[in-house]
């Protein structure tokens, strides 16, 4: 099977590092952001930032794997 490109794998590692491995760095209450404890706020931000990283990975992969037939949005 064709492996994903190095670039797209690296982009996928960003959320893994931010959300998982670095928990000791962000798991505290202060500074609170908009009244929300920092750990909650950090993970909530990554719900939005993860799609950004993966959109970059998508741009890389879609160029390497063009659709065989045209596909349209919808069912």
């Amino acid at each position: 099977m064709k492996r994903p490109a190095l670039g797209s794998i690296l982009l996928g590692l960003i959320p893994f590092t931010a959300v998982c491995f670095s928990v000791g760095l962000w798991d505290h209450v202060y500074p609170m952001v908009f009244g929300i404890p920092f750990n909650f706020f950090w993970l909530m931000s990554w719900v939005l930032l993860t799609p950004l990283c993966m959109w970059g990975a998508y741009r890389i992969e879609v160029r390497r794997n063009p659709d065989k037939e045209r596909t349209e949005i919808g069912s």
């Binding site: 798991d27 719900v47 349209e72």
Partner: protein
């Protein structure tokens, strides 16, 4: 009007509406096994998104997340940790699985193992693990339904009766309409769930504390340790968080129903795009946490934390609104349950029964057997849900740890040509043994790490070791993608 009658009629109305949508989907489609299980591989971005969101967000996310925030505190953040990451993992495996699926007309997860490793026994083993792990998951949906009706009726309707009626409906629409019907019911479910989560997540902290910030300030006063891991637990610290997030992120798409959803897509890039946008659905999760944390301040000392969300909704809003939330919750149990039933039944008929006991069966006969299995699984889960009560949370965790053991076989199957069926079989057996052993002896977490994660590590090690020690035999998936007529289980495709 009696609030019980109001709440229950609205719940029933929503459930019946959902079932009608499911039946309607059937009327326009001819049904064969391919259509019933994978929707003829014709789903575009929207239907795939609906199907995946429909099956991924279950009662456990709806009631369980607020319950964990209520009883455990910060460890509940693991849900917000694994959700984006499991889609990241899916980005690198589902499009490849789809490609192999299209080429070989695969319909189930076990089919993938059959084609990649060429072993009916390995494939049957994977099917068995999948079916066994699905039963506690189904049971969990049923129990959630029972809780909803119990709260909404103030205990007037017996849970057993409610569970039986709801599940008869689920089995009926799985029976007649298959995967497309389920994806369409998800529309109603998603709209109701997103709408009610957004509303109560903002309204409940506002009504009691005039805002989320003030709620957190009050909570820091009352319970200063609740909001940092390990929260109100003694053993769910950072090591547990990392190992659990990794285990679930790798294991999540190993649930046979999520894995098989990949086959319904029209192209691999639809699955990639889906992996990019799916994390956005998780914006509702923190709102569920806020509801659970507010409930902790307003209604401390509830006997069952899973009821925290429903109890505070009942206390705060009029009966019709409780009915609306209850209806959303009921569909949130029924849609995933429908997919679990369909997947479990197909796995049993196609990958366990046919290859081992009756190799001559036609696809029509397999479809018939699968439909009979829908009834058997429904009755089995129903019997379990009515007779057992407390231990299902540990059963579900066992289920998660169990399906995660399928991951090495998939990732090596795709990207390590040398990986052998023997190695994968040995690794899975070892991983399952370690997971069951640790969990049944109540050693989860073990040394501060999630037991399923420890099992997965042993699985990887054994898979690699046995593969390297056995003679080289496999050709990998490259070979399997070469254009030529393929044979899978008697289905000839050109």
């Amino acid at each position: 009007m009696d609030p019980r009658v109001t709440a229950l009629s609205i719940i029933s109305g929503i459930v019946v509406l959902g079932a009608l949508i499911g039946f309607y989907a059937r009327s326009r489609q001819a049904m064969n096994l391919e259509q019933w299980t994978v929707g003829s591989r014709g789903f575009g971005l929207v239907l795939v998104w609906l199907l995946m969101a429909g099956e991924v967000y279950t009662t456990f996310t709806f009631l369980g997340a607020s319950g964990w925030a209520y009883s455990k505190g910060a460890p509940v953040l693991y849900i917000l940790g694994y959700q984006p990451l499991m889609y990241v993992v899916s980005f690198y495996i589902l499009p490849q699985v789809w490609e192999l699926g299209r080429k070989h007309r695969l319909q189930t997860q076990a089919d993938f193992f059959q084609v990649r490793y060429g072993s009916a026994y390995l494939s049957a083993f994977v099917a068995l693990v999948g079916v066994v792990c699905l039963i506690p998951y189904l049971q969990l949906q049923l129990t959630g339904l029972g809780d909803i009706v119990e709260i909404a009726s103030f205990g007037a309707v017996p849970r057993a009766a409610a569970m039986t009626i709801a599940f008869a409906l689920v089995a009926a629409f799985v029976f007649v309409s298959g995967i497309r019907g389920i994806a369409l019911v998800s529309i109603l479910k998603d709209v109701l769930l997103l709408g009610s989560a957004l509303f109560i997540g903002i309204a409940i902290p506002y009504i009691y504390f005039h805002g989320v910030g003030a709620m957190f300030a009050a909570l820091l006063q009352a319970k200063p340790h609740h909001l940092v891991m390990p929260g109100s637990t003694s053993n769910l610290g950072h090591g547990w968080y990392i190992s659990t997030v990794l285990m679930v992120a790798m294991g999540f798409y190993m649930w046979p129903q999520f894995f098989a959803a990949a086959y319904t897509a029209k192209s691999g890039n639809i699955l990639r795009r889906n992996a990019v946008i799916m994390p956005l659905y998780s914006v509702t999760m923190p709102l569920m946490f806020f509801v659970g944390l507010t409930a902790l301040l307003v209604l401390p000392g509830l006997p069952d934390s899973n009821l925290a969300l429903l109890t505070i909704v009942r206390k705060t809003f009029p009966a019709w609104f409780l009915g609306l939330i209850g209806g959303a919750g009921a569909l949130t149990a029924m849609v995933p349950a429908a997919i679990q039933l369909l997947t479990g039944a197909t796995l049993y008929a196609k990958n366990l029964y046919r290859p081992l006991f009756s190799p001559g069966m036609t696809d029509q006969q397999v479809a018939k057997l699968a439909k009979a299995m829908v009834l058997v699984l429904t009755l089995g889960a129903l019997a379990l849900a009515i007779t057992t009560s407390i231990t299902f949370v540990s059963l579900l965790l066992l289920g998660y740890a169990g399906v995660a053991q399928i991951f090495p076989g998939v990732i090596f199957g795709l990207y390590w040509p040398r990986a052998s069926g023997r190695g994968v079989f040995a690794g899975m057996a070892c991983g399952l043994g370690v997971a069951v052993g640790l969990m049944l002896t109540k050693n989860d977490p073990y040394l501060g790490l999630n037991a399923g994660f420890i099992a997965l590590c042993s699985n990887f090690a054994v898979t690699v070791a046995v593969t390297l020690l056995s003679p080289e035999e496999q050709k990998g998936t490259e070979e399997l993608l070469v254009d030529r007529p393929a044979m899978v289980e008697g289905t000839v495709v050109s």
